[in-house]
């Protein structure tokens, strides 16, 4: 019999089961960090969260209560303004790269995007301090948005490029053959077909910057009061967490845990929306 030399079949089945179980165990272990973090933050932060916490400004040291509304509003404003800073150049550069695979500008563009991605966020913060904070003589929402916008840029460019590269060429040709000018074809046929991918990229970029602290230290700086003026400093959730957590007061530590929980829920929510967008808006070719 040809199979005589091979190990007994039950040994194989055992091996099969063994690997199966090992894979499951290792996969579960990989999800432990997230589970522990979530558990820890929920257990510490949950008790701080109430209506007042979400809707009030912080109180001075020693006074009980107080909230983080300034940081929540600040984070939302920072996200909106950094989108205004990053989306137009990011999406246009992504379109350009997907349309021009060769050429010097493309080469230069993708190289700089890649290098930009690897620049530490604190360095971006310092540069924006020199570029924006110094000339305006103020830490500001604007400066923070520029710093965060720079951090969003590579993600936006790359996802836009990758998404649009996957749009079949025959769609573009169908449009051009109808006498539609090139730029209209890009805007009305190619970009809409890739919209879900582009939006996914934007959401991923937002999730990435929502928790950034380092680039905000020298730019948005933080602010215990409500501010929506782009030229004044503004608070953000990560900055608030940083400031409360390093303070010596236990009440403030509780605020830091609560703010962490709010931030985590925001980021998880963004991830959830991203999944929904990719699923729901997927274009069938």
């Amino acid at each position: 019999m040809r199979f005589q030399k091979t190990p007994h079949i039950s040994f194989r089945i055992f091996k099969d089961h063994f690997f199966m179980i090992a894979i499951i165990i290792l996969s579960v272990i990989a999800s432990f960090p997230l589970l522990f973090i979530l558990f820890h933050i929920f257990s510490h932060g949950f008790s701080s969260i109430n209506w007042e916490f979400l809707m009030r400004l912080p109180k001075p040291v020693g006074e009980a209560g107080g909230g983080i509304i300034n940081a929540i509003v600040g984070t939302v404003l920072l996200i909106i303004f950094s989108c205004i800073v990053a989306l137009p150049p990011g999406i246009i550069a992504g379109i350009y790269l997907s349309e021009n695979k060769e050429g010097r500008l493309s080469y230069f563009l993708s190289l700089s995007v890649e290098v930009l991605q690897s620049i530490p966020s604190i360095v971006i913060g310092i540069i924006v301090y020199v570029w924006v904070v110094r000339p305006f003589k103020h830490f500001s929402l604007l400066a923070g948005s520029v710093a965060l916008g720079i951090m969003m840029l590579p993600v936006i460019v790359k996802t836009t490029e990758e998404t649009l590269k996957l749009i079949p060429n025959y769609l573009k040709e169908a449009s051009l053959a109808l006498g539609v000018p090139y730029y209209r074809t890009i805007l009305r046929v190619v970009v809409p077909a890739g919209l879900s991918g582009i939006i996914t990229g934007i959401l991923i970029a937002i999730a990435r910057i929502a928790g950034e602290t380092a680039p905000l230290l020298f730019t948005a700086f933080g602010n215990p009061f409500m501010n929506a003026n782009p030229l004044k400093p503004v608070d953000s959730l990560p900055l608030a967490i940083f400031n409360y957590a390093k303070s010596p007061f236990p009440e403030w530590h509780a605020l830091a845990w609560g703010a962490s929980l709010v931030l985590i829920i925001m980021v998880l929510g963004l991830n959830l929306i991203t999944r929904l967008v990719t699923k729901k808006w997927k274009v069938r070719f």
Partner: protein, 252 residues
């Protein structure tokens, strides 16, 4: 005497140094189906893409000679104007995936930003879908996405989209090669019906299809126009031995 819609004069094309077409002379006459047949790689696609100047999208493509659409030199026109006068249907059905059946049909106007009154738009959509023999199948689902249709229906939708622009000539590049036999014969019947109102140039590497639907046939072989004439004549008494060999299946 039938009037000439498209006249191709000593035309040639090359990609870089690779000459793909040379010395092509061809006249396409009004309300006829002209088939271009030939083995794979002989330059059929290149020829019809040169007619609506889609070849200009390929880097390194060059052409020489003249092509006239209704006596107008197409290389003296703006490509955007030219392409609005020429309908094109591709090998693979390519309705716009983000658009409904209705919007796909009217896409030539919509994408070009041409605003029409609602009633006129509705009229064009219905007329074009009727011409493409698709109206009855889709009239209750006009606002569904075009990509939900079957392959054959999608291809007829693409024909309707081209017809909506009221083109002077309709170019079809192997429109049935991605379809099943039933959809194929459906489209062939449609083309024969359509020639009452349209001038059609059909590329095919299916000899039988050229024989079934066309009035005139051109046989293209390695970039050269070997023979051109009435289909019946070309199929029964070909002048060139290469045509005869191709028709009897010796190559291709």
């Amino acid at each position: 005497m039938e009037s000439t819609v498209l006249k191709i004069n000593e035309f040639g094309a090359a990609f870089g140094d690779h000459v793909v077409l040379n010395n092509i002379n061809l006249s396409i006459t009004h309300n006829n189906i002209t088939a271009i047949m030939g083995p794979s790689g002989c330059g059929k696609t290149t020829l019809i893409r040169c007619i609506n100047r889609m070849h200009e999208l390929e880097p390194g493509a060059r052409v020489w000679g003249k092509i006239y659409l209704l006596e107008e030199d197409i290389y003296a026109m703006h490509p955007i104007i030219l392409r609005r006068k020429i309908g094109m249907v591709f090998q693979k059905p390519n309705p716009f995936p983000t658009m409904s059946i209705y919007d796909n049909t009217i896409a030539g106007f919509k994408l070009n930003g041409i605003k029409l009154p609602r009633a006129e738009r509705d009229g064009i959509v219905e007329e074009s879908l009727r011409k493409a023999a698709l109206w009855n199948e889709v009239k209750d689902n006009l606002h569904r996405k075009g990509t939900f249709l079957s392959g054959g229906q999608q291809q007829r939708l693409c024909i309707a989209r081209a017809l909506a622009m009221d083109p002077d000539i309709l170019l079809l590049d192997e429109p049935t090669s991605a379809l099943d036999p039933k959809s194929t014969s459906h489209i062939e019947e449609l083309l024969v019906e359509l020639k009452k109102i349209e001038t059609i140039l059909l590329v095919t590497h299916n000899i039988a299809q050229a024989g079934r639907v066309s009035d005139y046939t051109a046989f293209l072989y390695v970039g050269e126009l070997v023979e051109f004439g009435q289909t019946q004549k070309l199929f029964t008494v070909p002048e060139d031995t290469r045509t005869e060999e191709y028709l009897s299946g010796k190559f291709g």
